[in-house]
């Protein structure tokens, strides 16, 4: 009916070739009615009075908490069943291919749990600070909300994001290759203020953050980072944290790997040495080709990806004016520039960054071009404010091997075919 209507991508089949072809045909049919080359046939989306233009719509309060349009029902988090042994220890993925701007809606922020979602009652929420402090303290949620607050927009990326692609391409969708990523405005209390309240002892060098969930998730954090820009957040994008994001309070560790951002945080212990918890020894250490492993690889390296076109977001309009868009981010600061290649990295052109350029936040980039309808090998390459250049897969494998699991920030290649379909590929 309307050519702006999303093609009928069915839930559970949006990535398949069959679904793509169906939607292309549907879109093509609509184009005939609406395109300038077929003026003889008027567009019934205009000539007929639509239902929504004649009849009264729903009143207020139909949904006390607003929901997306039913036409957007496929814009959801998805998980890859075979990645993890149980749904309580699983991860799902942000639908990056459907989003724009830099802020991730709260309900689409990817989830990663170690023992499921803790359903903490806010009245029973407590945050304890103990260890090398003058005054071990306990705060309620109301106590935390009486401290001076800070707002900051930060990306959170799981260290294992793109980890399934170390040895080769295997997931056909930006949501799955890069979707352990979100970007949210947090409101909370700087750790520095809480530590001032407790009084750090001179030997205080490390902080252990511990969650209230059934894995009591714990990670060590150096005091310098804790005092720099970390905070206990109780709001995300203006509203209370979602349960799956740590309600009622979580740790925010800007620019550093997601597993440090302990959710449902119940305790901060101050110490003089790191704890070497399971999540910083057995996991979240980076095995190199020589059998050595890097540990405490906290910082997220500069990275970018084209979110559309991508396998789940094919080009449906044939040749002509085309928007390439994507995200770039760095745990070391802001993004200085993003370049885009249409020929698999032989030649590059500067992309346009639009929207806020904030420290340790997602940046949105665009490259607008006139597609000639021929096959294209799309890539993006970001450079951050520290001068770090996003590497190719080959460069990363050369220094790390393929067993690292974590911190794969290499350049992604999407193969845009003549028919508009897009595939995750690796190139020479």
């Amino acid at each position: 009916m309307s050519r702006n209507k999303k093609p009928s991508i069915e839930a559970g089949s949006s990535g398949s070739r069959r679904a793509f072809l169906r939607s292309s045909i549907a879109a093509g049919g609509a184009l005939v009615a609406g395109s300038s080359s077929a003026r003889a046939q008027s567009d019934t989306a205009i000539t007929q009075v639509q239902d929504w233009a004649r009849r009264l719509g729903k009143g207020v309060d139909r949904t006390a908490y607003g929901q997306p349009s039913p036409h957007e029902k496929d814009v959801v988090r998805r998980h890859v069943e075979w990645l993890t042994p149980s749904v309580q220890t699983a991860v799902n993925f942000t639908p990056l291919h459907e989003l724009d701007g830099i802020i991730t809606p709260n309900g689409l922020c990817f989830e990663r749990h170690h023992a499921g979602v803790a359903e903490v009652e806010p009245d029973k929420y407590r945050l304890m600070i103990n260890g090398l402090v003058e005054r071990p303290l306990v705060f309620t949620l109301d106590d935390l909300k009486r401290f001076p607050r800070r707002n900051q927009i930060n990306f959170l990326e799981c260290a294992a994001n793109t980890g399934m692609e170390w040895r080769g391409v295997q997931l056909n969708g930006c949501q799955f290759t890069h979707g352990m990523l979100h970007n949210v405005m947090y409101t909370g209390v700087p750790l520095r203020l809480l530590f001032e309240a407790a009084g750090l002892k001179t030997s205080a060098r490390w902080v252990m953050a511990e969650g209230a969930d059934a894995s009591a998730m714990n990670r060590s954090l150096p005091m310098s980072k804790a005092l720099d820009d970390c905070m206990i957040a109780f709001k995300m994008n203006g509203e209370a944290l979602r349960p799956e994001q740590g309600y009622p309070a979580r740790l925010v560790v800007p620019g550093w790997e997601g597993s440090l951002w302990v959710k449902w945080i119940r305790r901060l212990e101050i110490g003089d040495e790191p704890w070497h918890s399971r999540e910083e020894t057995s996991k979240y250490t980076d095995l190199l080709a020589n059998g050595k492993s890097r540990r405490f690889t906290w910082e997220m390296d500069c990275k970018s990806v084209i979110t559309s076109p991508s396998p789940q977001a094919p080009v449906k309009h044939k040749r002509g004016q085309t928007v390439i868009t994507g995200l770039a981010w760095s745990g070391r600061g802001t993004i200085a520039r993003v370049d885009v290649s249409l020929d698999g990295g032989r030649n590059w052109v500067a992309a346009r960054i639009d929207g806020p350029s904030l420290d340790k936040s997602l940046h949105r980039f665009y490259y607008d071009f006139d597609w000639n309808g021929e096959a294209v090998l799309l890539q993006s390459r970001a450079v951050d404010s520290s001068g770090y250049i996003q590497p190719t897969k080959a460069e990363l494998r050369q220094v790390r091997g393929t067993n690292s699991v974590y911190h794969n920030n290499s350049i992604q290649t999407w193969y845009l075919k003549k028919n508009g379909e897009v595939e995750n590929v690796e190139i020479s």
Binding site: S13, G15, R17, V80, W82, T84, Q88, V91, H114, A115, I129, L137, V138, R146, F147, A160, R167, V169, Q170, L171, N172, G173, R192, L193, L194, F195, A197, G199, L200, T202, S203, A216, M223, L227, R266, E269, G271, E273, W275, H276, S277, R278, S282, L287, K292, W298, D301, P311, G344, G345, N347, W348, R381, I389, E395, N403, V405, N424, V425, E426
Partner: protein, 239 residues
């Protein structure tokens, strides 16, 4: 205002610590309002002292130096039935791991192979991590339910399955815990990134950066994306 010395928390004036801390105060540029500047910077009178009993209830962590280990002991022989009852349904009778659940034993000599198996015996640097993690997170779905003697016995059993101890009557305890070292301890190194090019190595190439480009691998060949998941191709999990 936030840079004034009065805002430095009490007791952080140690010589090694102070310079970094002052630097960080400058970098953080925390946007605190005037009301904050008027406060003494000692917590705004918020929070209350934690009681000793409360700290005991939550302070469950154990460090590599043994700090935090509770009193207790257990042997592998005592651990075996506990393991069979509470652990083996996921980790296997011999801690070898079932399905996608973690293997806790074996894997020695695999870390440089194409299929590294990261177990307590082959990979973990410190045994204390096993105590810390088992008590806080295991058994899966019944966390913090094990008694100290049970945790020591389970760890002894896992050590036996890894061949790190040979005697199933050896009683692992808080007294002798640190005498057991794990073989991979010295194979962890500090983060030395960035390990790829930065602008110091030159501007990134913009034109004619490489010869002809060919597609060498395609996701559709493996085709393990959830919506397409209709064949049984090999899948590499993230663990």
């Amino acid at each position: 205002m936030s840079r004034s010395p009065e805002r430095v928390p009490r007791g952080v004036s140690g010589a090694r610590f102070a310079p970094a801390f002052l630097l960080l105060l400058g970098l953080a540029a925390t946007p605190l309002g005037p009301a904050c500047a008027a406060e003494p910077g000692r917590g705004f009178g918020l929070g209350r002292p934690a009681t000793a009993e409360e700290i005991r209830a939550w302070d469950i962590d154990v460090r590599p130096d043994g700090r935090g280990l509770p009193e207790g002991s257990g042997t592998a022989a005592e651990g075996e039935p506990i393991f069979a009852d509470k652990c083996a349904s996921c980790h296997g009778d011999f801690a070898e791991g079932l399905d996608r659940w973690t293997a806790l034993a074996g894997g020695v000599g695999t870390l440089q192979s194409d299929n590294p198996v990261r177990t307590i015996g082959s990979y973990w640097p410190y045994l204390s991590t096993a105590y810390d993690y088992i008590f806080r997170a295991m058994p899966f779905g019944n966390a913090q339910s094990l008694k100290p003697d049970e945790v020591y016995a389970l760890i002894a059993y896992i050590l036996l399955m890894n061949g790190i101890i040979a005697d199933d009557r050896f009683a692992l305890s808080n007294e002798n815990f640190n005498s057991v070292r794990l073989p991979n301890e010295n194979n962890f190194i500090e983060d030395n990134r960035p390990d790829t090019a930065t602008l110091k190595d030159g501007e990134p190439c913009m034109n004619d950066c490489k010869p002809q480009v060919e597609v060498t691998m395609r996701a559709r060949v493996l085709d393990v994306t959830p919506e397409n998941d209709d064949n049984g191709a090999a899948k590499r999990a993230i663990e």
